[in-house]
Subunit: 380 residues, 3 copies
Amino acid sequence: MNEIVKPKAAPVPRATDTTLTREYYVSQEVFEREVEKVFFRQWSFAGHVSQIPNVGDYFLHSYVGESIIVVREGPETVRAHFNVCRHRGSQLTRADQGNVKRLTCPYHQWTYELSGQLKRAPMMPDAECIDYDKLALRSASVEIWAGMIFVNLSASPEQTLIEALGQPPEGLLKLEPENLKEICRDRMVVGANWKTLLENYLECYHCAGSHPELGVAFDIQASYEQTGSWGGNCFIGGEPVRKGFVTVSMTGELVSKPLGLHAGDGTLELEVTEGLGLLPVLTRVLFHIDHAIIHVMNPISVNEVEWTTRWYVRSDAVEGVDYDPERVAEVWRATNREDKELCERNYKGVLSRTFTPGPLNPRAEGALRPVLDLYLQLIE
Amino acid sequence: MNEIVKPKAAPVPRATDTTLTREYYVSQEVFEREVEKVFFRQWSFAGHVSQIPNVGDYFLHSYVGESIIVVREGPETVRAHFNVCRHRGSQLTRADQGNVKRLTCPYHQWTYELSGQLKRAPMMPDAECIDYDKLALRSASVEIWAGMIFVNLSASPEQTLIEALGQPPEGLLKLEPENLKEICRDRMVVGANWKTLLENYLECYHCAGSHPELGVAFDIQASYEQTGSWGGNCFIGGEPVRKGFVTVSMTGELVSKPLGLHAGDGTLELEVTEGLGLLPVLTRVLFHIDHAIIHVMNPISVNEVEWTTRWYVRSDAVEGVDYDPERVAEVWRATNREDKELCERNYKGVLSRTFTPGPLNPRAEGALRPVLDLYLQLIE
Amino acid sequence: MNEIVKPKAAPVPRATDTTLTREYYVSQEVFEREVEKVFFRQWSFAGHVSQIPNVGDYFLHSYVGESIIVVREGPETVRAHFNVCRHRGSQLTRADQGNVKRLTCPYHQWTYELSGQLKRAPMMPDAECIDYDKLALRSASVEIWAGMIFVNLSASPEQTLIEALGQPPEGLLKLEPENLKEICRDRMVVGANWKTLLENYLECYHCAGSHPELGVAFDIQASYEQTGSWGGNCFIGGEPVRKGFVTVSMTGELVSKPLGLHAGDGTLELEVTEGLGLLPVLTRVLFHIDHAIIHVMNPISVNEVEWTTRWYVRSDAVEGVDYDPERVAEVWRATNREDKELCERNYKGVLSRTFTPGPLNPRAEGALRPVLDLYLQLIE
C-alpha cells in the first residue's frame, strides 16, 4: 500500500474551505431544485456506439427517474427520446434494448418514426383530427464524441457537448475509443446523497486508508496533485498509474490487448492515462493502454444515488484469450465496494442533526470546493 | 379479436380535449384535497346483503384508508360505523367478518349497541361520569338498492343513493340482484394514480390492442358508442356482449343458471346487459343473463389504487353443477391483469417531468373529459 | 386475573380530560418540533455501568435517529459523543460495543482522544492548518446515578439529572443498583406514535382485559391509585406486586438472588418495589427484591417507536443456578407483546380522519393529562 508522503519543505496551507451545510444533503426541496437547475441541464454519459450499430437499434437510458430511448435513426444520426407517448403518456417500451422499425405505444398503438415524428394515431387521422407535427416525441439532446454517447435532458442545452468538454483530450483519440466493446457493467445504489458520493470521488485523502487495491495500482501522490486543477463543469486527464505499472491492474501487467494505434506496439509507452470528467453530476471516463472504465452517477432521490461502472476493451479482443473480465474489473470493483461503505457511513453522520461541515484538507481535498461552488452557482 | 371498424362516412371530429396536467396525478396535496372533496362525499359499493343475512352479522369495508364496520342492526336496518372507539380511538375489530351481539373495544371494553349507541364504559357510568348519548360511534351513510349495499363516508351526504343513481336501471330488477351469492373476489393494487385507472376504464380505444378476451366476449364498437352518454356522477347501462353471445364468457355460452325471472326460460333474450356506474371514483355494476360482476376502485395513496372485482351467481346455483368459478371469472380476470400492466406503464410515463396531456380521441375517448370535468368541479 | 373493584362509596368524578387531537399523533411537522423541543432536551436511560467497566470501553446508544458513543474516559468519567467526525461527518464506529484507546474515523483517520479532543488529522497539523481545539467531537450530556447511565442530547441541559429526578428514590440504593448485570434485552418497534405508547403505559385501565400475566403478578388496584401522583418530568415509585407475592413473577416466588443488602436475608420484606420514571419520553426503572427491569422509549418517526426492555440481576448471580432468564423476563415479555398489539390497533384508529379524542377515565387514566400537559408546555 502506498504511504502518504508529506512534502518536506512546503509550508502548510491554512484550511479555510468546508463542504456544504447539512440542508444541502438532506432536503427534499433542494433535491427538486437540483432536478431543474442541474440534472436537466448537464451532459452525462449514456452509452457507447457499439450498443446501437444498426438503424433501429436502441437502448433505454435511466437518469434521475427519467427513461430515455437512445435510438439510431440513421448511419450518422442518433436520437434520445423521452419514453413517454404524446397521447396519454404511456411508456413506449420497457425492454432495455432492442431493434425496432418504428416506436409503437402498446396502449393505443400510436406509432412514431425513429426521428420521433408521429406517424399514425389509430382513428385519429393527421390534419383532420389532430396535427401530427405537433405531437412528435419530446427529445433530449444527444451528442457523440469518440464513440461515446452523451445525453443532456434539455432539448436546448446552454452548451454543446464539445463546448462543455472545452479542450477535449486529443491524446485519447489514438486509443480509438469508438472501437471498443463493453465487457462488464456493475450498478450499485449507494444510500447517500449524490454529493456525498461526488465528494468521495473528488479526493484521494481517504485512499491510503481505505483502498488497498487502488494503492497497488495507482500513484496516489500524483492523484493528489492533479485534483488541484479540477474545477469548472469538465476536467481533463486520467488517473496516473503506479510507477512501473503499464495499466490499472493488481500486477501492473496488461489485462487486454493494447488499444487503437498501440496494437502490436513492441515498445509500449508507460503512463497512457487519458480521460475526462463532467461535473457536477459526475461522469468519469478513464482510458489506459489496454482498457477503459466509465463511471456514471445517477441521482435517484435525496438519499440514494446509483453508481454504474462499465469496462471496455478493444472490440476485436477475445474473452479467455486476450482478457479475463474478472481481472479487467478487479481494481475498480473492489474500490466501488469500499466507496459505497464509506459514503453510506459518511451520510449516516451527515444525517445527524448536530452535523456541521469541517475544514477540508487544502493539500488533498482541493478539488471539492471549486466543484461545490460550481454547484451552488447552478442552483442559486 | 375484434377489428376496430372506422365508420365510413362520418366526418372526423377535431380532437380538443385532453386529460389533466401532471400535477393532478402526482401531487400529495391534490390527493389530500380529493380525500375531503371527493372520497368523503361519494357513494361507493361496499358489499351485498347476502354477506349479512342475520342480525349482528358484519363485514369490514376498507375505503381510502378508513375502516368501516357494515353491520345488520335489524331485519330492515344496516349500519356503517367507523371502526374507531370513541374513548381513545382504538379499532374495535380486525376480523374481516363475523357476528356480534354488541361491539366491544378490546382496549378498555367500551361496548356499543349495533346502532352505534354507547352501552357501557367500565368504571364510567352514564350520566355520572360521561354522557353516553354523546359518545355513539361515528357513522357513515349506508343505503341498499336491489340487494347491493352502498356506503358514503359522509354522515350527511348531499344526495341520497337514489338521487345519485338518477334513473335506476329498472330492467335490472328482473334479474333479482338481491338473490345472488358472491363466488369469487379478486383484489389487486395498481401502482398508479386512481384517475389513471379511471381513464383506462372509461375508454375502449385500447381494447382491441390489449384485451384479447374482451375482444372475444364484447361488442367493442357498441362499447365505443355508449360511452358517449356517460357523464355526471352516475351512468346507466352494461357492457354490450358480442353479437350471437348470450353472456360474457370465452365461448358465448352461459356460465351459470339464468338469473331471476329468466330461470327456466326456454327462450332467453339475448343482450341482457344491465348495469350502472358511480363516478368519479368508479363503482361499476355489470349484469348479464347468468351472472353479475361488480368492480370497485379504492384510492390508497397518490400512486396506488386498489381494484376489487366480485363475481356473483344466483344464490341457489350449485358450484360444480351449475357453474365453475374459473369460467365465470375468466374474461374479467384476464382483463384486469392486462389493465394493471397498462395503467402502471401509463403512470410511469406520467411521472416523467416532461409529461403533458395529449389530445383524446373524440370517437373512442369521449367519456373521459366529462368525467374529469365533474372531478374538477368537485375539488375546486 | 384481578377483578377491577369499583370503590363502593366514592362519588363518581366527571370525566373532563381527553388525549390530544389527531394532528399531534400524525403530523410530520409536529414530530420535527418534538425533536427540537423534547427529544434533544430530556434525560433518558442509555445503559448500565457494568457495560463499560474499563477505560476505553464504549457502547453505541441510538436515540431518535442519533448515534451516541458512550465511552469510559477514566475511572470516574464517562463521556457521550455524537458519532460524527468533525471533518466530513462520517460515523466513527459502527460496532455496538468495544474497547478503544482512541476514536479513529475510518474515512480519513482523524483521531480523537476519549475526551473528544482532536488528537491528529493526517496532513493537517494542529495550529498550522487547523485548530484542533475547535474540532473536538460534539458531545451530549451524560450522568450516572446509582450505576445507571443517563444521556441528554443537549450539551447544556436545563436541569442536571439529579434536578430532573427531584427526590431520587433513596430506598432503591439499598438494592445496590450499581451491582447488577444485564441478562436479557428485548427490542421491538411499535407501529404507532410514541405518545400512543406513552398513554398506554400511563394507565392500567386496560390491564385487566388485556394483560393476564400482569394480572397475576401485580396489584392492579394499587397501580390505579398510584398513577394519580404521576406528573412533572419525573415520578418516583415502582409497580406494586400482588398481595402475597415477593416479586414480579408468574408464581410470586423469587426468580433470582435478593439484591444488595437483602442478600442472605432470612426475613424478606415484602413489597420491595422501588422505581422511577422520566417523562414525557418514557424511561421506566423498576426494582423488585431480586431483579430490576428498565424500559426505554425511543421515537423513530411519527409512526414508529422503539421500546427496549432490559432485565438485570445481581452481578454475582449464576445463570442456571440462581436464575433462569426466561422466568425473569416472562411477565414483562408477554406484557410488551400485548401492548404492541394494543397500541398498533389504537394508532390505526387514530389515523382515521374521523378520530377525535374521547373522555379519559378520571379514576384510572388520571396520569395521562398531566403528562400531556407537560408535553404541550414543552413543545409550544
